[in-house]
Symmetry: C2
Subunit: 345 residues, 2 copies
């Protein structure tokens, strides 16, 4: 957070209402369903013949992000993207967000503007409207809480519980990049802490670092499903890692799954980083989190409609509940997929 | 937070998914509009011929609450009530909430159960459904973020900007109680810190302490407006203090206002506490926050419909913008109402 002290406006000089007014003036609205946004006790969304989908996330400094290497603008973008991703994972179109922030005095108005520049960039990228929120002081680091609201026709909503044996298991994009990006950033932070003169060695890793700092939500797939006439039978976004999300689909749908390691999509940079860190690439693809790609299942009959889609990899299939969730390694070994989840208490 | 250590379940033994499952099992749903609650990427609310109203609040330990004297159950209730109050202030019926919490290791499962017992009590009191949220660890005290969603017919939604000169200015309940409750609790905390053997002197102040620790949202008024055929011309809930909320109505509606001190409703206990602390009662009624009563305006023609309502006090009227916002004291002095707001950065 290098700042020019001469261009620093203290939050206490602005006050809460001053800050809200300042933020409100920058808001662009994209959706006709936004009847009334910031400025009253609550936002008002117009009546709808579609269902409303609601998702929320809480991001805490020191737990979900480290401001040593996370630019505030990227953080703002990511806070919105991860919620938009949850709405997309329901096969719904995100339309509105609320953003609440807890700020300590160490942030200036200019720093908050950077954070909101990222939030507004995400609003523009995903065409969602910032309709409300809460701003407050914090004695304990930066707190960001985002709620995203989307809409979908009742028959289009996709839950975690619709996968059937025989369905194809698919994933968008590639896996493990965000995790390797985090490893690189953490390594450079340690180097920096022990020797502030050292130059960061991040050259050649732009993609994986971008995957960690500025993940994209796959709202494009919601449109592509519509255009190609495919309704996934189940879907979830990959925030905690592929293994964990496969277990969620299996548990909720009461099915098993078979995944082929050789079918898992990985970027060359991720592979290079994994090799540098001497971590098996399968571990990274299965357990690295925060890629915010979509994991979904489709009927076999829909294969033709998606087989040429460059965003989609077919990584396995849904099996009976009794056979559990398994990965077939490149060497042909069958390995049980463990329910990982993260335990960060 | 006195706890029996023998009945303590550590959060790390439960894990995130364990905690979510545990909480999910206790949820009761009250609204047919809740199509799908906790357990997927997002909650799903059914299509509606009414408008959707969304409000959100962020509560941080050390800023918004002090666990030294705030029982977790009361805190859970209050976190919901303050958001439900915002929805009621739009003249809408609250139906769903999402609750995100950041927890540190010092909380046990049993402590979280207390917090959620309060949340569920509020859900039952206001008939709202807990449909989603986020649970995460926190390195910096308890964080609670609540988003409330309500519904209202388009023609029933009341904004801050509809007050017209000549309208009557009304307030529900009584004022200043929550503020005096806070003063009493803070005083006793200081006494306790300097002498842990001292007995708290809170006898006779049950009402004002309850106003601070367990405020009620005035959803009852939304129903009463409907039954009596009154649509307020503008409305806001009193969270930051009457003076500040009057200024919001005046600014948003581009009007002025005249308030009579002698008409302001106050409880005897609040008056007693104000006298003990030597604070003028007008100051407490005008600037004491967190009462979560409703401030609203009605057409003069609607006076007959509400005049016998025991919940409503008529405290003044709306004037031209040019005459500003003023209070007429008991002695007949005319005092300009200042835009207070709170500056807690």
């Amino acid at each position: 957070m290098a700042e020019n002290r001469q261009n620093r406006t203290e939050l206490k000089d602005l006050g809460e209402f001053g800050l809200i007014n300042h933020l409100k003036q920058q808001v662009t609205l994209y959706n006709p369903s936004t009847r009334y946004g910031i400025g009253d006790d609550a936002a008002v969304l117009s009546e709808s013949e579609e269902e409303t989908v609601v998702s929320t996330d809480l991001l805490l400094e020191g737990v979900h992000f480290d401001l040593t290497y996370t630019p505030l603008k990227h953080l703002g973008f990511k806070a919105v993207a991860v919620n938009v991703s949850d709405v997309a994972a329901m096969n719904a179109i995100p339309q509105q967000i609320t953003v609440s922030i807890g700020l300590s005095n160490r942030f200036s108005k200019e720093a908050i503007d950077e954070l909101y520049a990222g939030i507004y960039a995400a609003c523009e990228a995903y065409k969602v409207d910032l309709v409300g929120g809460d701003t407050t002081s914090s004695r304990a680091g930066l707190v960001i809480s985002v709620t995203a609201i989307g809409r979908a026709k009742k028959e289009d909503v996709v839950y975690r519980n619709g996968a059937q044996p025989g369905d194809l298991l698919c994933v968008t994009g590639d896996l493990g990049g965000a995790y390797m990006g985090l490893q690189l950033l953490e390594r450079e932070k340690q180097v920096f802490l022990s020797n502030p003169e050292a130059q960061p060695e991040l050259t050649g890793f732009d993609y994986v670092i971008g995957r960690q700092l500025k993940p994209e939500a796959r709202t494009d797939m919601v449109h592509e499903f519509k255009e190609s006439g495919v309704r996934p039978t189940s879907m979830i976004d990959i925030s905690d890692g592929l293994a964990s999300e496969i277990m969620h689909l299996c548990t909720n749908s009461e099915v098993g799954a078979v995944v082929y390691e050789e079918k898992l999509p990985i970027d060359e940079e991720t592979l290079k980083a994994a090799s540098d860190f001497k971590i098996p690439s399968a571990t990274i693809m299965m357990n690295g989190g925060e890629d915010y790609e979509l994991l979904f299942t489709i009927k076999q009959d829909d294969f033709e409609k998606l087989k040429n889609n460059p965003n989609v990899s077919f990584i396995g299939y849904i099996a009976d509940k009794e056979s559990g969730a398994k990965m077939v390694s490149k060497g042909g070994q069958v390995i049980a997929i463990e329910a990982q989840g993260w335990v960060h208490f």
